[in-house]
């Protein structure tokens, strides 16, 4: 099997939905830096999209769900397209490392995220609330990295990447601990950062 075939098969299964947790997370991480994989995923999304045209509508969602969503978005800074930027200078900016080193640090950060997202929810039955909190907090943590400007990676030093990830993990910890005020402040600050 050629590398191209392997990438296409992986992308196809990712879009179809047959990958397990570790494989899905690995693809989520890899697609950020692998243009061929990202393009293959986009192509498979186009190919399989028509299946969704016959996706049956099920029962109505609970009537209070929109109010819960409205409360969530009220606490957010706003859609990306209208979000303002804030330039943040990290200490130690003088020593810029090579792009490869930064990419390595990023990969390490994302590997931590991948581990948390795949292993963090392995808790015994009966603690579903904790699972859901981890899921929600993990989602916010993952959202931050998903929305983070990819073009910044090459400009950032390894120290900056590590600092950014430390702050993101603090936000995750605060969220999981139920400290919404701290979590929101940290996630909001992270979202305003530009490099």
């Amino acid at each position: 099997m050629t590398e191209e075939e392997d990438i296409d098969g992986l992308a196809a299964e990712y879009v179809l939905g047959s990958l397990d947790a570790a494989e899905r997370t690995a693809v989520d991480v890899r697609r950020r830096t692998d243009a061929a994989l990202e393009a293959a995923i986009a192509a498979w999304q186009r190919r399989l999209a028509p299946l969704g045209e016959r996706d049956h509508a099920g029962d109505l969602p609970p009537p209070q769900l929109f109010e819960a969503i409205a409360a969530r978005i009220a606490a957010l800074p706003g859609p990306q397209s209208v979000r303002g930027g804030e330039v943040v200078a990290f200490p130690g900016r003088r020593r810029r490392l090579a792009v490869a080193v930064s990419a390595g640090a990023l990969a390490a950060c994302l590997a931590v995220a991948a581990y948390w997202l795949t292993h963090g929810s392995r808790v015994p039955h009966g603690v579903q609330r904790t699972q859901l909190a981890q899921s929600v907090c993990g989602g916010r943590y993952k959202d931050f990295w998903v929305n983070f400007d990819r073009s910044s990676y090459g400009r950032m030093s390894a120290e900056q990447l590590a600092g950014l990830n430390r702050m993101a993990l603090r936000a995750y910890d605060a969220c999981e601990a139920g400290d919404e005020q701290d979590a929101k402040a940290l996630f909001d600050r992270l979202k305003r950062m530009t490099f």
């Binding site: 299964e13 179809l16 939905g17 706003g78």
Partner: protein, 181 residues
């Protein structure tokens, strides 16, 4: 609440500018369908409620990324819903075979905003699916609609996981070649 493809696309564009009324319109027009996708993949309404919340929070945050030139709004929304549901499904305990129906029932068409072009895409894809062996076609559809992993499929059909992977990859490659894109 049926809205046209154009109306939905316009509502997403307004949502991207922070218009909460437009966001509500998007929710009212699409939540039934997206909830159906999420419930089917997760098999549990309590988790589906949480995931649907995440779906629309993400829609609010990323509405500006929707590009009407590269696809329909409902496809864009369904992709977000499927991905979040699949992510959540992978975090919970593996599902038993009994949680799934013995026979796959294809969902009916509930898309009032369909266009000629989209219907043609649908026919082409299904013509290609019909070119697969019947059991391979069922395999592909079962994974797509229910989000089954290779391991879950393996348990269902009593074949090794490696065999399931091979069947899936070959079926998908055949689909790709048939679609010619």
């Amino acid at each position: 609440m049926p809205v046209s493809r154009q109306e939905l696309a316009a509502a997403l564009q307004r949502t991207a500018r922070g218009d909460k009324a437009a966001f509500r319109l998007v929710y009212e027009a699409t939540s039934l369908k997206l909830y159906g996708i999420v419930v089917r993949i997760l098999g549990r309404r309590d988790l589906a409620d949480e995931v649907l919340q995440e779906v629309y929070v993400r829609v609010w945050q990323r509405a500006g990324e929707f590009d009407s030139a590269s696809g329909s709004p409902i496809t864009w929304l369904a992709t977000i819903a499927r991905n979040l549901a699949l992510d959540q499904a992978r975090r919970k305990a593996p599902r038993s075979i009994e949680e799934f129906p013995e026979v796959l029932e294809l969902p009916g068409d509930d898309d009032p905003a369909g266009t000629v072009e989209r219907s043609e895409d649908f026919r082409r894809l299904h013509a290609c699916l019909d070119g697969l062996e019947p059991d391979r076609k069922e395999l592909v559809l079962l994974v797509y609609y229910y989000g089954l992993t290779r391991e879950e499929i393996s348990g269902r059909i009593g074949r090794p996981v490696a065999t399931v992977k091979t069947w899936l990859r070959r079926s998908l490659a055949q689909l790709r070649d048939c679609l010619g894109q």
